[in-house]
């Protein structure tokens, strides 16, 4: 008897040094169904897909195609088995036409000459059959994101793929385009294609998927039929209930408003929608406000706008009563804003500079470090660096002269935190300050944030970690698709409720 499953991944386990990315995960995709794969960041979705594509080899478990066990050693094997994927970031050649992109790698040719006519006919037929409207002669750089995505889908169909994987396909689309995509996916499934839909947006999963498999922290939680479940249940499965550690802190005593953001809009670098849409909020002295949300919902751009790395499209930023909307980065920094950046290697450190030079990165120009003639004052710099190294327990091979590159991630982060906190800011913006750190370092970072709050400073924390969001702040603002969709009190809310807001299943009108 023929197996009802197009592809099965049974008991897959994949380990990386120090972490089990996939722990005994089973995923069974039926022929002609739309199957959602749901999970937070780091839940193991990408790893599982990489195993399916042969980019990684699983240590345990088997993959079956139509009931028969198969070996997938590299992406070519996956391609031969009819597995295709639309990546979150499209893999298209910008200056080629739609048609050229579709046939790229499988160009039909005769005696070394391209036979584009054949290809064009096949593409047009496919596009008609599945309602995938594209202009084969348009250049990729000139067409909308939606049409680019349809080009990607046609790429898979042109290769006669039977198993289609969509990796967070709606992240870059407008609501109308999402609507269209949903219809396309349903058409494809109706024609017998099997679709795997990776997402963390509950509403979309409920709307389009037949079944849903949920992963959490590398573990298989379960597979449910969407018609027998609710968004609340899915959300609970996704975020779980376990709280790992708790941050000790006294009740907050919020004082005057330090940061006042009014109607902030920031353009996106990746797509044509705005990344931050008309956002307003306040942060007061003596409180920690956390911006929560799933990665890519505008948090990064929000912080870029606040710190001056990106200009605002509209809106105002007021820091301690002064309008800093158009102030330079340096001006913001000297007016009392500190910023622990999201990416410590991109923004936080000059990796080839010694630790001491990195520790003065925000204040090297101050008279204590630079003489009037413009010469660096070496002894005070060394003294200052040694003091920070001592106070914040920054460990490194050769002390102040260690190149930042040679330090561990945790200690690099400690160095940045030391630098930003020692500036004695009125407002501390900390973006994912504990990313990639071990438990001990995480505790240290949280203590520092709370200490800043208790010293009467305003702290704005941006975090993707639910535990952190629940434990550290005094107020939570949830961001979804560039907007603040809810304000929650961590003392009274639950992770389930938070999850609903983060996945866009629930929203309030939030007043600043």
């Amino acid at each position: 008897m023929e197996s009802p499953y197009a592809i099965e991944m049974l008991h897959i386990t994949k380990r990386f040094p120090g972490i089990i990315a996939n722990d005994d995960i089973t995923l069974q995709l039926k022929r002609g169904e739309i199957h959602a794969l749901l999970g937070e960041n780091g839940a193991g979705k990408s790893t599982l897909m990489s195993v399916l594509f042969g980019l990684y080899q699983a240590e345990e478990g088997v993959i079956k195609k139509d009931g028969k066990e198969v070996q997938i050693k590299d992406p070519n094997d996956a391609n031969d088995l009819g597995i295709g994927m639309v990546h979150q970031h499209f893999k298209l050649v910008e200056c080629f036409t739609v048609l050229d992109n579709i046939i790229l790698g499988v160009e039909p040719s005769k005696h070394g000459f391209l036979q584009k006519k054949e290809a064009r006919e096949k593409v047009l037929a496919l596009s008609e059959k599945y309602g995938l409207q594209v202009d084969p002669d348009a250049l990729i750089e000139d067409i909308t994101v939606g049409m680019q995505q349809r080009t990607e889908i046609l790429k898979m169909l042109y290769r006669d793929n039977e198993i289609l994987i969509f990796d967070e396909p709606t992240a870059v689309l407008t609501p109308q385009e999402i609507e269209e995509l949903m219809q396309i996916m349903k058409n494809l499934a109706a024609e017998g294609k099997s679709i795997l839909f990776i997402s963390h947006k509950l509403a979309e999963i409920m709307a389009v998927a037949d079944r849903c498999t949920v992963l959490r922290k590398g573990k298989y939680i379960g597979t449910v039929e969407t018609k027998n479940t609710t968004m609340e249940q899915l959300s609970a499965m996704m975020v779980g209930r376990n709280v790992n550690f708790h941050v000790e802190k006294k009740p907050a005593h919020p004082g005057e408003v330090i940061l006042d953001v009014e109607g902030m809009t920031v353009a996106s670098k990746v797509h044509k929608n705005d990344a931050v849409k008309n956002v307003s909020f306040k942060v007061r002295a003596g409180e920690i406000v956390c911006i929560a949300g799933i990665d890519g919902n505008g948090q990064t751009e929000l912080v870029y706008g606040l710190s001056g790395l990106e200009p605002l499209k509209s809106g105002t930023i007021t820091l301690m009563g002064k309008d800093i909307t158009n102030a330079s980065i340096r001006k913001r920094s000297t007016s009392g804003m500190s910023h622990i950046p999201e990416d410590r290697h991109k923004h936080g450190l000059v990796l080839d500079y010694p630790l001491e030079y990195n520790l003065i990165l925000q204040r090297y120009f101050e008279p204590q470090f630079t003489s009037k003639a413009g010469f660096l004052k070496r002894p005070p710099i060394r003294e200052y660096a040694n003091r920070l190294i001592e106070e914040y327990d920054v460990r490194s091979g050769q002390g102040a002269v260690t190149p930042a590159r040679a330090m561990s991630g945790g200690n690099q982060q400690k160095a940045i935190i030391a630098r930003e906190i020692d500036k004695d800011p009125e407002l501390l913006i900390a973006v994912q300050p504990t990313r990639g750190l071990d438990v001990g370092a995480i505790e240290f970072v949280h203590k520092q944030l709370v200490a800043q709050r208790d010293a009467g400073k305003a702290v704005l924390l941006v975090s993707l970690e639910l535990d952190e969001v629940m434990d550290v702040p005094d107020r939570i603002l949830v961001m979804y698709e560039g907007e603040i969709v809810g304000e929650l009190d961590p003392k009274t809310t639950t992770q389930e409720e938070l999850g609903l807001y983060m996945a866009g299943a629930k929203r309030d009108e939030v007043k600043a």
Partner: protein, 379 residues
């Protein structure tokens, strides 16, 4: 200890530089062997010996002086390339900025009768102006500095040819001799020439270039400005995050780089060692050789002094190759092969590092294996 020594950046640079030189000489030698095997050894020795070809000490000194005279402008071009490189910019426009300096200094000296100091200042201004164009385009329009630099090299060359035609000899394409037509513009010798068997071309140009190298070293290593520039070169994003004026720094860097190359032009032509040929159709190699000198010098201003001298040494040495056995272009060919190989320093450094990493890994694996075996033995 030995491994630590190999890991030090300075030692690696030195080893890599010497390897490059040896490799260059070897390949040059092979090329000579192919053309005419009997004279190959003598030819390569002549290139290496340069002024030592002469047996008389006073002639040796005089020609040593000549090599130094041409080292000064080369060093300035190398410093120009180096300074920009530290900020992450590749100043291939140094060649054109050098020509701009030549143009300004010769024209001011011959047409307006200016003294050497104002001539040099004008050379700085011209070189800096050319650098500023590249810098402005880079900072505000994101035009690649290599492309705009190369284009400007040619514009600079032909503008120079055009302008200097007004001060050329009536019977030749060469500009007038500064010594006879504008002696006020000659660089002061300060009696330095006496050390080189009364070589009249040896002037303050040489100590000035060395001082410039030291100043560049100090600016890069000891000042706030250098701190900012190197931060920008190493990590543009971090520099922006720290509130450094990224655009201003790019423009300023290329202005300074242009000025350095511009001085180079003045330092050579205000000695009257050479005259400008107004029918020239190629950009002088000085700026391009500066690139090789920068890398051969391990991207260090002091190292660049020695590298510049070496490159000029073999370039001059090429002139002593026996022209009865080889065609007249051979000297340029051999020196350019060696200079070409000089650019491979970074590659060789990379290879050294790879080698160290590999051997360390092997050692580690061996230790692990040994440990595992020891454990097994215990059982």
């Amino acid at each position: 200890m030995k491994k630590n020594l190999l890991k030090s950046d300075a030692v690696q640079s030195l080893i890599a530089s010497f390897l490059c030189i040896i490799l260059g000489l070897l390949i040059g030698f092979i090329v000579l062997l192919f053309i005419n095997p009997t004279g190959a050894w003598d030819a390569i020795v002549a290139v290496m010996k340069n002024f030592l070809t002469y047996s008389r000490a006073n002639l040796q000194m005089k020609n040593f002086g000549n090599t130094l005279v041409k080292t000064a402008p080369l060093l300035m071009c190398a410093l120009s390339v180096l300074f920009a490189y530290k900020v992450g910019l590749f100043n291939i426009g140094a060649a054109g900025q050098y020509v701009a300096g030549v143009c300004a200094s010769i024209y001011a000296a011959l047409a307006w009768g200016w003294g050497w100091f104002p001539c040099m200042i004008l050379a700085i201004v011209f070189g800096a102006a050319l650098g500023a164009v590249v810098g402005l385009l880079k900072a505000y329009c994101n035009v690649n500095e290599v492309i705009s630099g190369i284009m400007l090299n040619w514009i600079g060359l032909y503008l120079t040819n055009m302008l200097l035609t007004k001060v050329k000899e009536s019977t030749s394409p060469y500009t007038l001799h500064i010594k006879s037509a504008a002696p006020q513009a000659l660089l002061p010798g300060l009696g330095l020439g006496a050390l080189f068997n009364n070589n009249q071309y040896v002037t303050i140009a040489i100590p000035l270039a060395i001082i410039a190298a030291i100043v560049i070293l100090v600016v890069l290593e000891k000042t706030k400005f250098g701190y900012e520039l190197k931060a920008t070169g190493n990590n543009k994003n971090a520099a922006k995050y720290a509130g450094m004026a990224e655009k201003r720094n790019i423009i300023l860097t290329l202005i300074i780089a242009g000025a350095l190359a511009g001085i180079g032009g003045a330092l050579l032509y205000l000695t009257d060692y050479e005259q400008w040929q107004c029918t020239q159709t190629s950009v002088p190699g000085m700026g391009f050789n500066g690139i090789a000198a920068t890398f051969l010098g391990g991207l260090n201003p002091i190292g660049t002094i020695f590298a510049s001298y070496f490159i000029q040494h073999i370039t001059s040495g090429g002139a002593y190759v026996d022209k009865t056995m080889y065609c007249s272009q051979i000297s340029d060919l051999i020196s350019s092969i060696i200079i070409y190989l000089c650019g491979f320093v970074l590659f060789i450094k990379y290879a050294i590092n790879q080698g160290i990493a590999k051997s360390e890994e092997k050692k580690l694996q061996k230790e692990k294996l040994a440990a595992a075996e020891a454990k097994g033995g215990e059982k």
